[in-house]
Symmetry: C2
């Protein structure tokens, strides 16, 4: 596992995302890392992230899958080009589509572990499958289709 | 448009959802209503719901589509049975799967309007398609597959 998270390589002016921006103090500030060929993110919900009492609401699950997916896409694109993350030209991705299957209720008092697998990588598109586990259970599965941010957005 | 939102019929002990629970003071408290044969929800993002500066992060969009979808499913199930919402036995739904296609960046300073269309209704399953618009643009499209909460969960 690398010491610096994928999100820590994002430029300051594009680090305000509620899900993954290190500069959004009201946000979730998720952190994603390589774990061999896969990516990993650990996140512990807050008590107010409730769905039904004792369990996490689906929107949080979608949010962390989404941001872990786009972070993983960026890291994978750099690796695919044989470059260190953060080198120029910078590679930043946004979500074109997100799919989440909710398999079991996700307990709110347990660390969630998200594991990402890169299943497709093209020049401007990366597809990431994500499993979300809590304890011994896989509680949700997701797929993020991420597309590279056009340079004229000025994010990189 | 009805005066009482779908979510206002949920039982107190199942009204703590971060997305739609009227009793979660840190949550989004979305409100959904009938609008003819469709359902509608209006939500104005907060400034910290940022993705990239000026636009809404995808997780919020997924969250409001999700909760508007399950609320719409509950309302549709009552209507399908010819019953007033809130009458017993209560009908409450959770999300089995969620799909969101992000079509355009969603501006953060504009009210989002979500419109739900019931596309399938079976005994314990309702499928809802949702469009999310801001101003003149459809910014996202979603589909929520909602399943009725088993009675032994004690939510209704």
């Amino acid at each position: 596992m690398s010491e610096k998270a994928f999100q820590d390589y994002y430029a300051d002016h594009s680090s305000h995302c509620y899900g993954c921006g290190r500069l959004n103090d009201q946000g979730l500030k998720i952190k994603s890392f390589w774990d061999g060929e896969n990516t990993i993110c650990r996140f512990t919900p807050k008590s107010f992230h409730t769905a039904i009492p004792g369990y996490v609401y689906g929107g949080l699950i979608a949010s962390v899958i989404d941001c872990h997916g786009t972070g993983s896409a960026s890291a994978a694109a750099y690796r695919h080009q044989g470059r260190q993350m953060g080198t120029k030209p910078k590679l930043r991705f946004v979500t074109a589509s997100l799919k989440v299957d909710y398999l079991k209720p996700t307990p709110i008092d347990t660390e969630m572990i998200l594991r990402g697998t890169i299943v497709e990588i093209k020049e401007r598109k990366v597809v990431v499958k994500v499993t979300l586990s809590a304890g011994d259970n896989v509680c949700a599965r997701g797929e993020v289709v991420a597309v590279q941010v056009p340079e004229h957005w000025g994010l990189t």
